[in-house]
């Protein structure tokens, strides 16, 4: 059988060493009435047959080429350097356990420390944790931090924050008795104001105004940010946000039908003790050699149990490693190049699409980076037509926001080359 190592002779010899006659003698504690005679599942397959079945399922999905994908909404096609997979597919990384034994886990610990440093640099905040599951749970965890920090029971979601992030926030809030309010002025009950920059439609908000209003009410400002946009946009630390969170998928991770990706969270110094999850710090051994350890563990569930800041244990370490390799590969100027190329192409595309008969910019007075909303006549039929031509068109956002019926957001990155933009526009004109 695949992956099993004992031969029948091994099993017999091991039973003999234990001093029992059969496996049943080892399972005596299980009540007879519970014992099964196997599972109601088909027998196993050879690797050849297994892959044939799995590949057949993969073959029933339609994959659009990166360059002809213009749909975002939280998951984006980006150029992923080959270096990322070359590192994350090293078995020393992907088959390692959580680095509880620091001396035997320095590779993972140092990589996480570098990841934390990269995220802190990018967001211009003091400290980042070792990773969370995704952007949605990162928003929810940040709200929980604000609740604990301020002792207040309400959070405000300002503007168009990713609807699924808000749904997750509500589910988390339900457990803690935290109310989620859509828009409105913060007051003395408000623990935090949460906003997304750029927002779910791709539009820029005024983070300074939101942050100031939150602080004036004694609330925290939580910025949910696009990590690549931070190469050009003011980072949360520059406008005074207390916590920055976001989805790190764009930093070297495949779309993979929505996961696994990675949530990031960084905060100001005075909130560090309320951070959820693991943190890696520098420590030294008796000979003075520098190493890395899991730090401030007294916040965490394995020490604090029901008083922990979060229940998170397993996080998204390998995805954080991918993000670290990506950011290291890009460096400050590579990242800026990626962001600027996306910016230029998106603005070029927006202009051409808005010029199509009947099409117009939604919210034309607002700026965007590389995702933008358009009012599109007969949007479902348009998107179907594009699909027939092998193009994954924009995202209809009316399914989440009734007032945005007929609005489609298009996204454009460095993978959508100039010719791909032409193909999209031509397909729409025909």
């Amino acid at each position: 059988m695949p992956y099993l190592v004992h031969s029948p002779e091994d099993r017999a010899a091991m039973l003999e060493t234990i001093g029992v006659r059969s496996m049943d003698d080892l399972l005596v504690d299980i009540p007879q009435s519970l014992r099964l005679d196997g599972l109601q599942l088909p027998d196993g397959l050879s690797e050849l047959e297994t892959m044939a079945q799995v590949s057949a399922l993969a073959g029933r999905n339609r994959v659009y080429p990166d360059r002809l994908t213009f749909r975002g909404g939280g998951v984006y096609r980006r150029f992923i350097p080959a270096a990322v997979a070359a590192v994350t597919s090293k078995p020393e990384f992907y088959t390692a356990y959580t680095p509880y034994q620091a001396e035997a886990s320095q590779g993972t610990l140092q990589a996480i420390f570098e990841y934390q440093s990269l995220i802190a640099e990018l967001t211009a905040l003091d400290v980042s944790n070792a990773s969370l599951y995704d952007g949605a749970t990162a928003v929810a965890e940040a709200a929980m931090m604000a609740h604990v920090h301020t002792g207040r029971n309400e959070v405000i979601v300002s503007g168009y924050v990713h609807p699924e992030y808000v749904q997750v926030l509500k589910a988390f809030g339900d457990g803690r008795g935290i109310k989620v309010r859509k828009d409105g002025e913060p007051n003395k009950k408000t623990a935090a104001v949460i906003f997304q920059q750029p927002d779910f439609l791709g539009l820029l908000v005024d983070p300074r105004a939101i942050t100031t209003a939150a602080h004036d009410a004694g609330a925290l400002a939580i910025a949910c940010v696009d990590p690549i946009s931070l190469a050009i946009l003011a980072p949360p630390g520059e406008y005074g946000a207390d916590i920055a969170v976001g989805e790190g998928q764009q930093l070297g991770l495949a779309p993979s039908f929505g996961g696994p990706h990675v949530g990031f969270i960084a905060c100001k110094k005075d909130l560090v003790r309320k951070l959820p999850g693991r943190l890696v710090g520098i420590a030294h051994d008796a000979r003075g050699r520098r190493g890395f350890v899991l730090a401030l563990a007294a916040r965490e569930q394995h020490i604090r149990r029901e008083k922990a800041t979060s229940n998170i244990c397993t996080n998204h370490s390998l995805c954080a490693l991918a993000a670290a390799v990506y950011l290291t590969y890009m460096g400050p100027y590579g990242l800026r190049q990626v962001a600027e190329v996306s910016f230029k192409r998106a603005h070029n595309l927006a202009e051409r699409l808005a010029a199509l008969p009947g099409w117009e910019r939604a919210f034309p007075e607002r700026q965007f980076v590389n995702e933008f909303p358009l009012r599109v006549p007969k949007a479902p039929a348009v998107l179907r037509k594009l699909s027939r031509k092998g193009i994954l068109g924009g995202l209809e956002v009316g399914r989440w926001f009734r007032e945005l019926k007929g609005v489609v957001t298009f996204t454009c990155t460095e993978v959508n080359d100039a010719r791909a933009l032409d193909e999209l526009v031509e397909a729409l004109r025909s």
Partner: protein, 498 residues
């Protein structure tokens, strides 16, 4: 041997990577965005060439132990071999290239995989429905408790307490608290199993659920599980199963048949998705039909041979993460289940139990065995017998590292002093188990002759024992504004005080 940080290796003169130009006309950000919307200075990311980057990470990789090279006898963690074909399956472009907001018609294969995985997990644990959305075990625990809370609320019952055994994993009480429950601890009896008398005294009309793992964290099967289930259900509470120990009994028995109403599973333990140095994992939750209306949205449903995502579920607890869960991990787990089949999974659990009992037998005279066997897939020993030599469980753990074994779980569960928790899994050979037992014997012998030598372990690793207390002191100094060294991140030396 240590490796410099990428930030320390960085050289400002290094060219950025070659990337495409825009090739279209369009504005630069500075042309159209207001100045205060722009970043004032570039982030201090490292600047390295690709050859330097690859060597840096290869060196870091060489500093790690991993299941590909080392035996991980980590109790409660089920560190088994990660089949390489799983990685190939998840990387298929038909999976890796899928956008989560594609039309349902274009992702039927992905939804079919999720549907089949749900069916397979239902068969393994004996439940009616499974959500694949939770990203990890703790996330699954919390999801299950939210469903249990919603169930009680739907019946207008105000149940505020969750019972958790003292031997439970720390995520159990943390998840319960984050779900809004008060945590009430239930004591273990002298045989290491839950005390029925204590359970009886803690159960009340306030009890929402009992969280249990079986076999428990001592590796012992709760023989009286059917009585426990009856007691819990008689008070109107629910029984929750922590799937950490599912590897003990696939094909041997099922939590659903034991009376559990909600069951979480760790695909990264039982179903071989790699641990990744601490994730990503996946923590699906299975439920009996009475909890099914409360499952997170969306669920995958079959309708006229077509698979759909059902978002219209009025009683659902909502969404617990974005999209549909850690899909890439679901592909890996499904691939494993196909390859193993019902026969393979059953044999895997039997071999896991066999290996644990075999290893327990080999070391039973070297370490204390606080509880009688047989054990299931893991056992808890105690280094208490080395106490008089001044040697602790931690010293044994570090000495094992120097002998090329990863360490067992130590000081857990909390109910055993100097606990050493060993879970060999079915993918370690008899020869490996023999050599591990030999290492334990050598270490125990050394405790008599050279205890200081053990306290100085490890000696052959990139670093020796790291002073976490001093590190914590330095972090405190930073957080209290007495130092500029953040300890928790690299910071450019030239930047000066923050």
């Amino acid at each position: 041997m240590t490796e410099a940080l990428s930030f320390e290796l960085s050289r400002p003169a290094v060219d950025p990577p070659r990337l495409p130009e825009a090739d279209v006309s369009g504005p630069n950000p500075a042309d159209v965005l207001p100045r205060d919307a722009l970043r004032s200075r570039p982030p201090s990311l490292p600047r390295l060439s690709e050859p330097e980057i690859m060597r840096h990470y290869s060196r870091l990789a060489s500093l790690n132990y991993s299941i590909s090279e080392n035996f991980y006898p980590l109790g409660s963690c089920t560190m088994k071999y990660n089949p390489v074909v799983n990685e190939a399956a998840a990387a298929l472009p038909g999976f890796a290239g899928l956008h989560p907001y594609q039309d349902e018609d274009s992702v039927q294969g992905a939804l079919e995989l999720m549907w089949r995985l749900e069916q397979a997990l239902c068969a393994v644990v004996g439940v009616d429905r499974v959500t694949l959305q939770p990203a990890a075990g703790a996330h699954g625990e919390w999801t299950a408790l939210r469903m249990i809370a919603a169930f009680h609320n739907s019946r207008k019952e105000n149940r505020t307490e969750v019972l958790v055994p003292d031997s439970a994993h720390g995520t159990n009480p943390a998840s319960a608290a984050l779900s809004g429950f008060h945590v009430v601890e239930v004591r273990s009896g002298p045989d290491g199993r839950i005390s029925l008398a204590d359970l009886e005294s803690k159960l009340s009309p306030r009890t929402a659920a009992l969280m249990l793992t079986n076999p428990n964290t001592l590796g012992l099967f709760e023989r009286e599980i059917l009585d426990i289930a009856e007691m819990v259900h008689a008070t109107g509470a629910m029984l929750y199963y922590d799937g950490a120990n599912l590897n003990a009994f696939m094909g041997i028995c099922r939590p659903g048949d034991m009376g559990f109403d909600a069951v979480h599973m760790n695909l990264h333990k039982t179903f071989t998705t790699p641990h990744g140095g601490g994730g990503p994992g996946a923590g699906p939750v299975g439920v009996k039909s009475e909890l099914a209306p409360f499952l997170p949205s969306p669920t995958v449903e079959r309708s006229n041979g077509h698979l759909v995502l059902d978002h219209k579920r009025p009683q659902s607890i909502g969404r617990v993460r974005s999209f549909y869960g850690n899909f890439g991990m679901l592909v890996r787990a499904y691939t494993y289940i196909l390859a193993m089949g019902g026969d393979g999974l059953s044999q895997a659990s039997q071999d896991a139990v066999l290996s644990a009992n075999y290893l327990r037998k080999l070391v039973e005279t070297d370490l204390e065995m606080p509880h009688e066997g047989p054990c299931m897939h893991e056992f808890v020993a105690s280094a208490h017998n080395l106490h008089d030599d001044g040697v602790r469980a931690l010293d044994v753990a570090k000495a094992l590292l120097d002998r090329n074994f990863y360490a067992p779980t130590v000081y857990f569960p909390l109910v055993v002093p100097e606990a050493i928790m060993v879970e060999p899994t079915e993918t370690e050979s008899r020869a490996t188990l023999d050599s591990f037992a030999q290492a334990i014997k050598e270490i125990v012998a050394q405790a008599k002759t050279d205890p200081q030598g053990l306290r100085d372990e490890p000696k052959n690793l990139p670093v020796g024992r790291l002073d976490e207390v001093a590190a914590a002191r330095r972090i405190n100094a930073y957080l209290q504004g007495q130092s500029d060294d953040p300890v928790l991140r690299w910071k450019a030396p030239s930047e000066g005080p923050s």
